[in-house]
């Protein structure tokens, strides 16, 4: 409102409440208003709003602030005998949501599950105690004793103790002794008196950019981030942005360390992604504004073919870390385009390409893990709302809640974040960069599955057919499915079991069915047409599998009698070694007859560790390397 008069003397342009809005509001209250009445009311409302705003500014001035808060406005209302507005007292910006059709923006007013809130295990951190610190800023009016610019510090002097602590901790963490490092990290995680040091630590961590050649150091810095994030006494405030940007650097950047194939930068990226998800889960309130920004940057990396594969890998694990919704919105729509590039890499068997190809397999594996969870979670989220009566949100919230409890690190970001991403900024950004935020429509699960299946073939399918009790759910009718779903929702919480969860398989299982089998054909056809780069042999192989069973998921439940699914396990190998991990899945396509060196089950059991702990299994690597590489 302040802008109005100064800017335009000629034309008064105050923020105005339109006649239509008044009518709408009246309607929602059950009153019909005539045009003229609404017009008069609108004008009066505008005036009252302006009046209240003008008088609220004095509360801001006396509070010695520059920012007008909702609280100021409420005080103005209260003093003019108007009821205050509740529920907008948060310090954070309130993002506007837009409605897709029609120019309507509103502030999300979501229902809060009080039970969940009350029983939440992550109790919000209290702020550190208010205190006064003194420092000699200027001696004799000359110069500043504190060196300027070296440290992005608060106005605070460090006491000697703190300074010593800071030096010891940084030395221990960045030093050689792993035991000392552990102690230091533990202390950083639990020390309640280091609030004053936070800026310094954040500064140290922001040094990731300068040590991108040193995996070890990067790792230690990430551990430091983890400790800071986990410290319950620390209010990260705006420093969380800096932390997130450091973490993002480790996830996305083509680090100097990646040049040497012997360096396991993959693990670093995995760990960084894990950390990112952790930050989003535990400090959701602080980073909610960042969520969308991060999605965009991940998307940018993913859609940039010039970037090295390790960056793409980072983008995929990053999306995975941000939750299945992020995967659905960014990775999934990009997959067809991206697949072409990836396929080209994977199909190039030249020796010079070996390294790149190995990287390609890494990416392949990461995508597979991501979409696997996407499918599972989506199936879960679709299954829930039926009982709740509310939208899919509730279901997914509960689903993700279940997840959170047991393993925050793996959980998708809390629900509000996903929604916050649709803030007004996102709307603008979407307009600017033309990304498909607005037009985005959720792809139905069956279609999604079939499209993904067309990429991954049985490597994907087999992920849902593991574990015991395959027979249980073979006959699927809806009622049974919903029963089966309720039961596992608790079990879903454990990602490790999730992987082997027969119930989940059942969920997935049903989706294509609901759609009906006839759909299969066109979708597969479409999918195959998408992948032009795919070799003809692979295509035919895929299609034959797809067509051989009219309802392929059902076939998953029969023991792996067919050849292709058995081979396809080996994509799990993405994690297995440094160089030749992901090669296996493609055996299905070009070496369907190759005998299996290892029983598939053995690999499936290793799947849970995918994306988290890189344990190179050298023996495997060596033994099968020669088999499939025309070296």
């Amino acid at each position: 409102m302040h802008t109005s008069l100064m800017a335009d003397r000629e034309e008064r342009r105050f923020a105005e409440v339109s006649r239509e809005s008044i009518k709408l509001m009246a309607e929602s209250a059950g009153v019909e208003l005539g045009d003229d009445v609404a017009g008069l009311l609108a004008e009066d409302v505008c005036y009252r709003l302006r009046e209240a705003t003008q008088s609220s500014s004095q509360f801001m001035r006396h509070a010695k602030r520059r920012k007008l808060t909702v609280e100021d406005f409420n005080r103005a209302l209260r003093w003019s005998n108007v009821e205050a507005i509740c529920g907008y007292g948060a310090q954070d910006a309130l993002p506007f949501r837009s409605v897709k059709d029609g120019e309507l923006y509103f502030v999300e007013d979501r229902e809060i599950n009080l039970v969940e809130l009350a029983l939440a295990t992550n109790i919000p951190k209290g702020c550190a105690e208010t205190m006064v610190r003194v420092n000699v800023s200027y001696l004799d009016g000359k110069g500043n004793l504190e060196p300027q610019g070296t440290v992005p510090s608060a106005v605070q002097s460090l006491s000697d103790d703190l300074l010593k602590y800071y030096q010891q901790i940084t030395r221990a963490i960045l030093g050689e002794d792993p035991h000392l490092m552990k102690v230091a990290l533990l202390d950083l995680q639990s020390n309640s008196k280091i609030a004053a040091l936070l800026p310094y630590f954040v500064y140290v961590i922001s040094g990731v950019k300068s040590v991108s050649h040193d995996l070890e150091q990067l790792n230690r810095l990430l551990h430091m981030v983890k400790s800071l994030v986990q410290n319950p006494y620390l209010y990260l405030g705006s420093y969380v942005r800096s932390l997130v940007s450091s973490v993002m650097y480790c996830i996305l950047e083509p680090l100097a360390a990646s040049i040497n194939p012997l360096n396991d930068h993959w693990t670093l990226r995995d760990y960084a992604a894990l950390l990112l998800s952790h930050i989003f889960w535990t400090h959701g309130d602080l980073v909610s504004g960042l969520y969308h920004q991060i999605l965009l940057s991940l998307q940018k990396v993913l859609s940039d073919p010039v970037r090295p594969l390790c960056s793409h890998y980072g983008a995929v694990v990053g999306l995975h870390a941000l939750g299945w919704k992020a995967v659905e919105r960014v990775l999934f729509p990009h997959l067809p385009a991206y697949w072409a590039n990836l396929q080209a890499v994977l199909d190039d068997y030249s020796v010079s390409n070996a390294q790149v190809k190995a990287d390609g397999h890494k990416v392949y594996g990461a995508i597979l893990v991501a979409v696997e969870r996407l499918l599972k979670m989506k199936a879960l989220s679709l299954s829930q709302p039926v009982e709740g009566g509310s939208s899919a949100q509730v279901g997914s919230t509960m689903g993700s809640t279940g997840y959170r409890v047991s393993s925050p690190g793996l959980s998708p970001p809390p629900e509000p974040l996903t929604e916050a991403a649709l803030g007004i900024a996102s709307h603008l950004q979407a307009g600017g960069s033309g990304c498909p935020w607005e037009e985005w429509t959720p792809v139905p699960l069956p279609a999604m599955y079939s499209e993904l299946y067309s990429f991954f073939g049985d490597s994907l399918a087999v992920r849902f057919s593991t574990g015991p009790g395959k027979g249980n759910y073979a006959p699927c009718n809806p009622s049974q499915v919903s029963n089966s779903r309720k039961e596992p929702s608790g079990a879903t919480s454990n990602p490790d079991t999730t992987r082997k969860m027969p119930q989940l398989t059942a969920n997935l299982n049903i989706s294509p069915r609901q759609d009906g089998s006839p759909r299969m054909d066109p979708s597969v056809a479409r999918a195959s047409s998408v992948q032009r780069s795919r070799s003809s042999s692979s295509r035919s192989g895929q299609r034959s599998t797809g067509l051989s069973r009219d309802v392929f998921p059902k076939a998953r439940f029969t023991p792996p009698q067919t050849g292709p699914p058995v081979f396809s396990f080996l994509i799990g190998g993405r994690q297995m070694g440094r160089r030749c991990q992901g090669r296996r899945p493609f055996q299905t396509t070009f070496a369907p007859s190759a005998s299996l060196p290892i029983p598939p089950r053995a690999y499936t059991h290793k799947l849970p560790v995918i994306g988290r702990v890189g344990k190179p299994v050298r023996r495997w690597t060596c033994s099968h390397y020669s088999l499939h590489l025309p070296l």
Binding site: R12, E43, Q54, W79, T130, V136, Y138, S238
Partner: protein, 741 residues
């Protein structure tokens, strides 16, 4: 606890006797208040000359208004007495009051009144305006606005205005600046008239056409005005009431005024002439017309400049004589000398000279003009300490700038709104938006509470260290939190003896806290609206407060009702300060004026205009001669209290100035602002000017723009607005603010 409260009660008893005359004076005060603003309505434009006849008529009208008010409130006896004393005939009221006797002031029927009635209604309004704030009586808008009911042809307003504009543009240069002053008030009143008479579109067109011509410093008011487009909106709009209830004061030279008058009469431009007569007060002076620069320096307030008479009263700005304290100088000095190895002879000499010079100050008020509390032993000890520190004081100057220490409030997420430090810099207190007041000890000495009453009984009262024994060691801590307010704490002040703390809050109360028990002793209720600021008198006992209700109040700690109410500001009182001699208080307001009030009789003795935004910082120089003020416009203005003149303008800050402080010897002025800087100014040089008689007589100041020369240093904080400044007794500068990550 009991002991401390007992102590307070003792103090109370001591003072009740002395303060009686003060309390008596309060009764007269309200009458004074009523009279001051109402002195204008009858006189019209009567160009600057005092007409005794008009004055008498005016008095009678005021009297009538008072009578009416009394009758309304069924105080028939008082009516009778007052009537008899004034010698009015018995039917005087009924004659004029007509319909209003039963229903009280105004009312909707005021519109339809006859001319006689409207004259009366104007009287009642202007007298009821000040009491509005006090008694919370919203003056009836219809009455206030009734003057707008005589209207001309709305279509001609633009013609009139642009006609005048054309005329003023063509007059001689020397008159143009002066006559241009007429534009703004004329514009406002014409616009309001249009709105009042329901010519909404005409009003909008008028506003759009001419609002661009107005001086930029009226933007804030224009913004308010602009949102006002309907008659209904005018009801209850405070800004509007200000325009109407107070006359906009212009200072114009006689020549310029004659020019304007002739023009308007020639053109038969009655519309404008009427407005000038009704709503403007033109203060005519003989001599050269003022230049644009001179006018701009003084204008900018809500109601124009101050009238010249307003600043004529004598102000006793000198300091009170320091009480004689037998210093055990020699013993102490020897010790001090041993410690520091300084020559011994100098100190006693200095002290002697100091006490001599304080003996006679012709400008000082008499020692007993305001009854002041007697010094307690502890106060004397403190004075001795102060003197000793003073001898170690650093002499500041342009070449010897003070060191600055910054007190940062960390983790103050709840919003730091006010800070104060004790004079000896041992305690710091913060007021917060979450209604708490927090006190910290900034020395190693921890804060302790007095023991509970039961425990106090156990103490041996005869022992030498009884004062130490009453303290409860277990409660020792670095900081204490005081809970009690129910709204943000906007003002905070330590008592000079460090026993009490005052806090004023949005909840409309001022609270007195004991720093012995860390409990609330009194809640002073009187302001029914947010209290923006409060301050203890330098001698303790009294304190002043001001807030949203536009009335500053003087209180004594042992009276639950105010002793004085200073009314006259047209908008919120944003800050209040005591003069070093406790005889005056100064208030700054969002009407962009500063007023100096006499504590003795409650009169407004100075009105300073020139700021272009709400005033948020005030500081007296330690010698009591000068005043510095800072506002949202980022400028510091310096005032000579004795002459009632602006003597300097310090430009440099880019945001609201929230704190000002002179060094102990007045050499340096420090200013702290929202723009995260502390700036030091050469006060000696700024005040080093000769005020000639002519300037003093006319009030026409001529400021040189020498801010850059006077600026000695500008010191950045890190993202921390400076909301308090304090010079220690040794001239170390302390600044405080809440860190804003």
């Amino acid at each position: 606890m009991a002991a401390v409260q007992g102590g307070l009660v003792d103090a109370v008893e001591e003072k009740t006797i002395k303060s009686e005359p003060v309390a008596d004076a309060t009764a007269n005060n309200s009458a004074n208040d009523a009279r001051a603003p109402s002195s204008s309505p009858g006189s019209g434009v009567s160009p600057g000359v005092n007409k005794p006849a008009a004055g008498a008529a005016e008095d009678q009208q005021t009297l009538l208004a008072v009578l009416q008010f009394l009758r309304k409130n069924n105080l028939s006896e008082s009516v009778e007495i007052l009537r008899r004393e004034a010698g009015l005939p018995e039917d005087s009221l009924d004659q004029k009051g007509g319909d209003s006797t039963g229903t009280g002031l105004g009312g909707p029927e005021a519109d339809g009144r006859t001319d006689a009635g409207s004259l009366l209604s104007r009287v009642t309004v202007s007298s009821s305006a000040p009491s509005k704030a006090v008694a919370e009586d919203q003056p009836d808008v219809n009455v206030v606005l009734s003057a707008y009911s005589q209207q001309g042809d709305p279509a001609l307003y633009e013609v009139y205005y642009s006609g005048l504009k054309k005329f003023i543009e063509t007059v001689l240069d020397c008159h143009r600046a002066e006559l241009s002053q007429v534009f703004y008030p004329l514009f406002v009143h014409m616009y309001l008239e249009l709105v009042y008479n329901n010519h909404e579109n005409k009003a909008k067109a008028f506003f759009e056409k001419f609002s661009g011509d107005q001086e930029c410093y009226y933007q804030d008011d224009l913004r308010v005005l602009c949102s006002l487009t309907k008659k209904e909106h005018m009801r209850g709009n405070e800004t509007l009431l200000d325009f109407r209830t107070s006359k906009f004061v212009l200072r114009i030279s006689r020549d310029s005024y004659q020019l304007l008058k002739r023009h308007l009469q020639e053109r038969q431009n009655n519309q404008i002439w009427n407005i000038i007569q009704e709503h403007l007060y033109i203060d005519i002076f003989d001599g050269m017309p003022r230049s644009k620069g001179q006018i701009d320096a003084m204008s900018g307030s809500l109601a124009g400049e101050a009238k010249r008479e307003a600043n004529k009263a004598k102000v006793y700005y000198g300091l009170l004589k320091e009480p004689e304290i037998e210093l055990p100088l020699d013993d102490e000095d020897e010790e001090a000398e041993n410690e520091e190895g300084k020559p011994k002879k100098k100190k006693p000499k200095k002290d002697n000279m100091g006490s001599k010079s304080k003996k006679q100050d012709p400008n000082a008020p008499s020692q007993t003009r305001i009854p002041l509390p007697e010094l307690k032993d502890s106060d004397k000890l403190d004075k001795i300490m102060n003197m000793k520190e003073a001898t170690k004081r650093i002499r500041l100057g342009p070449d010897n700038l003070p060191s600055i220490c910054f007190y940062s409030f960390l983790n103050a997420y709840q919003g730091l709104t006010a800070v104060d430090l004790t004079d000896d810099s041992s305690l710091i207190a913060g007021g917060f938006a979450d209604s708490t007041v927090r006190v910290w000890s900034v020395t190693p000495k921890k804060l302790r509470k007095v023991k509970s009453a039961a425990d106090l009984n156990m103490i041996d009262k005869e022992s030498d260290d009884v004062l130490e024994r009453i303290m409860d060691e277990k409660t020792a801590s670095e900081s204490k939190i005081l809970y009690g307010h129910s709204g943000p704490v906007y003002g905070i002040s330590f008592s000079p003896d460090r026993n009490y703390l005052l806090s004023s809050s949005e909840d409309g109360t001022i609270r007195l806290w004991s720093l012995q028990t860390f409990t609330c002793l009194v809640g002073y209720k009187g302001h029914n609206y947010p209290v923006w600021d409060t301050q203890f008198s330098p001698h303790g006992y009294y304190f002043v407060s001001g807030g949203h209700d536009r009335v500053a109040r003087l209180w004594a700690t042992d009276h639950y009702q105010p002793l004085r109410m200073f009314s006259g500001h047209l908008a919120d009182i944003t800050c209040t300060r005591f003069h070093p001699n406790s005889n005056y208080v100064v208030t700054g307001s969002s009407d962009r004026t500063i007023r100096l009030w006499d504590v003795l009789n409650g009169n407004c003795v100075r009105i300073f205009t020139g700021h272009k935004g709400p005033i948020h910082a005030l500081a007296f120089s330690p010698n009591g001669k000068f005043l510095a003020s800072g506002a949202t416009d980022g400028r510091v203005l310096l005032w000579d209290i004795g002459h009632g003149l602006m003597v300097g303008e310090l430009k440099g800050h880019t945001d609201t100035i929230y704190s000002l402080r002179f060094s102990r010897d007045s050499e340096i002025l420090a200013s702290g602002s929202m723009d995260n800087t502390v700036r030091l100014w050469d006060a000696t040089k700024a005040f080093d000017l000769e005020t000639d008689d002519f300037t003093a007589a006319t009030g026409h100041i001529h400021l040189q723009d020498n801010s850059q020369e006077l600026l000695l240093g500008s010191y950045m904080t890190k993202s921390t607005p400076v909301i308090h400044l304090h010079f220690t007794r040794r001239n170390l500068l302390l600044a405080a603010g809440g860190y804003n990550p």
